[in-house]
């Protein structure tokens, strides 16, 4: 009797996993492909809904079982490089990592229909931004990757928001801080150089390698830019190294924060009606006023290189859907993200306070930069932070160090 019981028990133990596996397989049978999708914070649920809608409506009857994971757009390419075999089939990433994604072979080549789709639906600037060498490599998803000024109306008066010195003075008078991410992100600090007329342009080849560059940061104009930045950094204790609107509610709160559209909701929650948004201010050095511009970049959706041709085709269909007009509209409505789609950009209903502030800020179309370029910018601004009141020769020294590091960033020299 005991033996028989044991046999039954063991049989059940053996059968359970088999049944589980079979049922799991059955579950998978409802789908054609199981895929992983990386999206930015806050868009997981929306993307899941959008993929479900694609599964229902697509004309080919394709069904994706999507595992949507949150990976910040700025880190997606870096993460994919760290585990390339296990990275997502579709991932959203920021423009500044495009060349590196191509260099690391993380993006599948796009074929005819996808290219036609991008050319039809995206603005020319967006297409240009998605191009490495002469080839478009990814699907533009948003066109709002820039920054502007958030401020506390109680502290900074509306008449002062156009001028950096006035904003700083208002913050100081109220015993509050000014937040910007100047020494930790070249993306923000480059604005001072572009304001004075400097530029750094990098040329890529088809493989995402950097083959040439023109950079005049190491010049008289560059010194002016550093002096402008030093005005903020010399605030010393009044300057907070952060682009987070959460500094509005810090122990010593900030009264002005330079950040982007992604922080609008959070800023509104903290300051409510006191929240003001404005284009970036101007700054004055030696009697001349310079208007700060913002880099205007894009967020893209990329597809991992596939070895299954059918899967690759359908992933492109899905990406077209996710970056299409309908999905971009949903992203604007639910997240406030600015679309890259031409139709939506022309739509007057697609606008918001933050988007207007961004649109009103002077733009610099963001190009492709080597990953190390951003770090070199950080090194330069960090040096400036340690001695914000440096004399011209010291400033020149910082620019020379920066400039001498650039040659090594050309791919052949890496």
């Amino acid at each position: 009797m005991k033996k028989r019981l044991l046999i039954i028990l063991l049989s059940i133990v053996m059968l359970v996993p088999v049944v589980c596996v079979l049922s799991a397989c059955n579950g998978d049978n409802d789908y054609d492909y199981a895929i992983t999708v990386w999206v930015g914070e806050g868009t997981k649920e929306l993307t899941e809904r959008q993929i479900a809608a694609f599964n229902e409506t697509n004309e080919w009857g394709i069904k994706f079982k999507a595992d949507v994971q949150i990976v910040s757009e700025s880190k997606a390419v870096g993460d994919a490089t760290q585990k390339p075999a296990d990275s997502a089939d579709i991932f959203c990433f920021a423009q500044d990592t495009l060349a590196r994604a191509v260099r690391s072979n993380l993006l599948a080549p796009l074929n005819g229909p996808s290219l036609d789709f991008i050319k039809e639906t995206s603005t020319e600037e967006a297409q240009e931004a998605a191009t490495v060498g002469n080839t478009i490599r990814a699907f533009p998803m948003t066109a709002d990757n820039g920054f502007f000024l958030y401020y506390n109306k109680d502290v900074v008066s509306e008449s002062h928001v156009g001028n950096l010195e006035d904003i700083i003075a208002d913050c100081r008078n109220a015993g509050q801080n000014f937040s910007a991410n100047l020494t930790d992100s070249g993306w923000y600090s480059a604005a001072f150089f572009y304001a004075t007329g400097c530029s750094s342009v990098w040329e890529t080849d088809e493989n995402g390698g950097f083959v040439n560059y023109t950079d005049d940061f190491n010049s008289e104009k560059g010194i002016v830019a550093l002096k402008g930045m030093a005005k903020v950094l010399a605030m010393g204790d009044g300057y907070v190294e952060s682009d987070k609107v959460s500094t509005f509610s810090a122990g010593t709160p900030s009264a002005a924060v330079i950040s982007g559209i992604w922080d609008y909701k959070a800023a509104k929650t903290i300051l409510k009606d006191n929240l003001g948004v404005a284009p970036l201010p101007s700054f004055t050095v030696d009697g001349t006023t310079y208007q700060l511009p913002t880099f205007l970049g894009y967020k893209f959706m990329g597809i991992k290189p596939q070895s299954d041709a059918y899967k690759a085709v359908y992933l492109q269909k899905l990406a077209m859907y996710l970056t299409g007009e309908e999905c971009q509209r949903q992203r604007f409505e639910e997240m406030g993200w600015g679309p890259s789609n031409v139709t939506l950009q022309a739509d007057s209903t697609i606008t918001s306070e933050a988007l207007q502030a961004l649109a009103a800020t002077k733009h610099v179309q963001q190009g492709q930069y080597p990953t190390n370029w951003w770090t070199q910018m950080d090194l330069m601004t960090k040096s400036l932070k340690t001695s914000p009141n440096a004399v011209d020769s010291a400033l020149q020294g910082m620019l020379t160090t920066y400039s001498s590091s650039l040659h090594a960033l050309v791919t052949d020299n890496e």
Binding site: N111, P113, G236, T375
Partner: protein
Amino acid sequence: MKKKKAPDFVTVELRDGSEVNNEEVMLFKMNGVSYLACAPQSQPDEEGREIVLCRRQKRSVNVDELPVGKFPDGGMFWQQLPCGEEQDAVFAEFCRRYEQEAQEKRRKELKAAEYLKLNRWQRFVYKLKAFFCAIPRWFVALFKKIGRFFKNLGLKIADNAVDLWRTFRYGSWSTRVSFLVMGFGNFAHGQWLRGLLFLLMQGAFITYMVLSGAHWLSLFGTLGKVATVEVYDEVLDITIVQHVDNSFKILLYGILTIFFIFAFAYTWRLNVKQCRICDEITRSGKKVKSAKDDLKSIVDDQFHKTLLSLPVFGIVMFTILPIIFMILVAFTNYDYLHDGYNNLFTWVGLENFNSILTFGSGLSVAFGEILAWTLIWAFFATFSNYFLGMFVAMMINKKGIKIKKFWRTILVMTIAIPQFISLLYVSNLFADNGVVNAYLIRWHIIDSPIHFWTDGTLAKIMVLAVNIWVGIPYLMLITTGILMNIPDDLYESSKIDGANGFQQFAKITLPYMLFVTGPYLLNSFISNINNFNVIYLLSEGGPARPDWGQVGGYIAGDTTILITWLFGITTGAEANYKMASVIGILIFVVVSVLSLIVFTIMPSNRREDDFS
């Protein structure tokens, strides 16, 4: 003089080939020094025959090559030895060199009586000096050991080769077949289980090598040739990408294959050896072990092997293999540009070590400073916690202190909250715009915030101070127990002798504590070298040091220690695994050298007998 060890008898072979009674010459050890003793009758005769000592019948040692200075005072054994002029000269030379060595030694070493006259500080200096003087000798000994290892290895291989040849030459036909078909000899002798296992091993090895091993091994030298191939599908109008080689897998499976080859070679040798043993047993008319005996033995006299097989396999797969993999990565260009999957990586030799150790290069300057701060940090973090923890424990244990449990509980509360949370909280608390600064300004104590984390020196002091806060409770708990164990009569008698509180601490408490907690201190020092949590959660290694430039794809800062540097360069946007591996190896070298040094000078290691 008393002999501590039984003498090692040696055979004395004279130059003409004749041997003398091996009991007439002997080597023996006394107080760690080898001596040679020679009976008068075994002296070389007047023809001046050379004496050759054959120790353990294997190695010949010419007396001329015997280490100098290893003879007792006066060379009493040698006085009887030389007979001819030549030997006289040899002896005179020995005496001269021995005397010279002895003088040198006397000059360096203080006599025991003189040592006892020294005060504590002088003794410490003397020990320290002796320790550093001994370092070159360690290295010499180490190199000698390495040399000996390789020599022995060579000898062993040669022995094995000879043994294999003999086995083949004199073995039975089944043994000879075993050279090709593993386990054949065992089958022939009726040991089917062993034979089957050997055969299975051979089958598995050949199958593995044919199916994949040879492939991995052939690519091991280059770590792959082609990463990806793009294929255009005309029907679907799409380009797909096929992955060909994967450097990561090649490296990993290459190591595995090499392991497997060694394991196979060992098994093959075992197979031949067992066949030879079987032959010998059969020849002597005895019965060889059957499968039943083998099965019995794995739970009986070979039970240790049964028990250890799984753990050993686990250690090889999950510890040794990854360590070898990590070490080998240091010799490749594995980084974010060469991920091994989409872009292959390859061997670069010592280039990575060169870039970090080359004097004057940006990376080496940063490495030097970071290493120095790591050691300073580990030293202060360990000893500040140790002494302050001890003081707190002593204070709480002091008679007359009320509500002891309450004080203890308050301190232990720090342990109750996960470090992860408390450290992040403290980090925000002391930020430039954090609560501490905000209140100090509001109460008009300061005008501008104190840069707790953004000023290099202050940040260093802060991480040490916060580490004290986090670490003291552990030390308090550990030391409370030990302090209670110190016999009260020691304190009482010292009090009668007129010792004050400090003297009691210095002469009784501290030596006792140091003795008991010596290994803990070392362990704590090593873990502080790798104390990632405190540094990273508090200051993230900052404030940044732009003057170092980018060190391995990461901007390091004033409080960066080796382990946070390693973390930064593996997880940043420009992951640099090759440098991380180099740093890992260097951390290992630093930690092991320090451990060895500290273990050598630690009282608990040296004076075990004295402790009571």
